[in-house]
Subunit: 339 residues, 2 copies
């Protein structure tokens, strides 16, 4: 990063669960923020957020606001990204989008900096950050693919209600309070009661009987890994935890990898923490990921149901590495590459 | 069942979470119970349970109690089964054991009546009922295996705290109450906090870095299906739900099965309810299994990451079909076969 230079930053969706996390990570990592503009929907207009002890007002989006902005984070959902991200690019800003709007757009790089930083070189103004479940997955796939070529992945997810934003968190909280007070449960954000329940659905249903999340993980993983031969099938479920997404991952490789080799490869790779001692009941837990930056991996063991198989378990903070942190890391990589 | 004849029944572990369920299912299904003897550990001695409006005292186990007993259910854990089941057989009773004590004993049939009722013919006094996660799995594997030969299964489980008995249920309940009242959480039954957490461990750790539950599912499935070539790998996790076990199941078959064929085969098979309309957000949910007898299956879809693959999602009441009901169904099959 060039010493002394600061950047004019805009953040769309500033009051949302990912937006607030982006602000706090920009602070924490001392990102060279010069001017800061915060935007949110009508109902948050007039709110004031704190950044490095300064009070920053939240405004509504309109034409022209991105002039003289270097970098804009979009974290207000796909509709707002579709409407305003191209506008921001036209006005001269680079956009880092955490929504689903552009992830599979062939002209938009989809980036996890530890995995495919080089994809940034081709950007045309918009860079997409993958969904949480993809980010944590590709981080552990990359070193194993480089070492032994991954042929097929079967993944089942255990996702937190915060993947659905602050309203998902509030719904689980309220449902539990209602149940413990013998009140009826109100169902609004999720299609069914989520308290003390397990829902095999994340994202909207698609026509092929997969959910948007399941197709998204498969497509995004292939795009980021740059290997269309890599086969992946996903089943995604929401469980009653507030924060932290977990995934059960079964991997088939072309060349044999012992559990020991997998542990070594992952321990040396960036962004990963190996927590793997089953006999001492040490493994990744969704609860322990909260507020951390790493993808935790454990339960590493060979799978003898196939020629060269490995099972493992991963967990990460879905709002940080799975969302806000990855977006800020993309911004840091852009500055380093002087893009 | 022979009209009019009743049977002298004993139940070991009568006050436990599975024991109470066995009692209530014997009532509900009007099992021809004549004399009924209830046993539990020292601390439950003197308790009285109700059966068909009669009050039945709970006693401690000792030598000689199984004389003149036709059938004994054991649901007090492996130690008590190991100690007293052979004794019960010597005293003339047939034993149906829901614990892990004899499941993989080559001289003990391991039975899910809808799947391998014929295995009962070879019993030598003890019959084992599989673990909950195996029971619901083999029920849906059987019709698919018969139709297209299953080569490999990758299963990830989402298991309820009641798999660990009443103390597991109490621990989740207490931890949530403590957290909502800003108290410290007490950890006792599970190795870590289970409230709002996801633990990739069910059962004790084994030396091969798999858990007892993971190895159990694989071995029991092969034994029940009677096919050693069927490859299975399992990852098991406990999630913060009270009742109802769910499983994400990926199946590779020798012959092609369309999603439509899978739905038809499963809809016609005994003990199964197909709940599968993703567009209408209909799929099996752990919460909906409570108090039911079926294994629910949904999210049925072809998996194109392998030549002939299918993904599906199952859920069942872990205390009923996954425990007490299967044991009572074994007893009913024994009577029907006059064994």
């Amino acid at each position: 990063m060039r010493q002394g230079r600061t950047y004019s930053i805009a953040l769309v969706g500033a009051t949302g669960i990912i937006g607030r996390e982006i602000l706090s990570i920009l602070e924490e990592r001392e990102f060279p923020v010069g001017r800061l503009k915060l935007f949110a929907s009508e109902k948050s207009e007039g709110e004031v957020l704190e950044f490095h002890s300064a009070e920053v007002p939240v405004s509504r989006l309109k034409q022209g606001v991105f002039k003289e902005v270097d970098l804009t984070f979009f974290s207000a959902g796909p509709t707002s990204s579709q409407e305003f991200a191209p506008e921001a690019v036209r006005e001269g800003a680079i956009v880092i989008d955490t929504s689903n709007a552009f992830r599979m757009d062939p002209f938009v790089p989809l980036v996890v900096p530890e995995v495919n930083r080089q994809a940034l070189l081709d950007h045309r103004g918009i860079i997409a950050s993958p969904r949480s479940s993809t980010i944590q997955l590709v981080l552990i796939l990359k070193p194993l693919h480089d070492a032994a070529r991954i042929k097929r992945i079967v993944v089942s997810t255990y996702q937190a209600v915060s993947d659905t934003g602050r309203r998902g968190v509030e719904e689980l909280d309220q449902q539990i309070r209602d149940l413990f007070n013998f009140h009826d449960v109100t169902i609004d954000v999720f299609p069914h009661q989520i308290a003390f329940n397990c829902l095999p659905q994340c994202g909207v249903p698609l026509e092929n009987d997969y959910t948007e999340e399941e197709v998204g993980i498969a497509n995004e993983t292939k795009k980021i890994m740059g290997d269309d031969r890599m086969a992946l099938t996903a089943t995604t479920a929401t469980i009653p935890v507030f924060y932290g997404d977990s995934e059960s991952v079964n991997i088939e490789t072309e060349r044999k990898l012992s559990a020991h080799e997998v542990r070594l490869l992952l321990a040396q790779a960036p962004g990963i923490a190996v927590v793997d001692h089953l006999a001492r009941v040490q493994y990744p837990q969704s609860l322990h990921t909260v507020g951390t930056d790493k993808v935790f991996v454990g339960r590493i063991r060979e799978d003898h149901s196939v020629e060269h198989g490995v099972n493992l378990w991963i967990a990460a903070d879905n709002l940080r590495k799975g969302g806000a942190l990855n977006a800020v890391q993309i911004a840091e990589a852009l500055l380093l590459e002087k893009l």
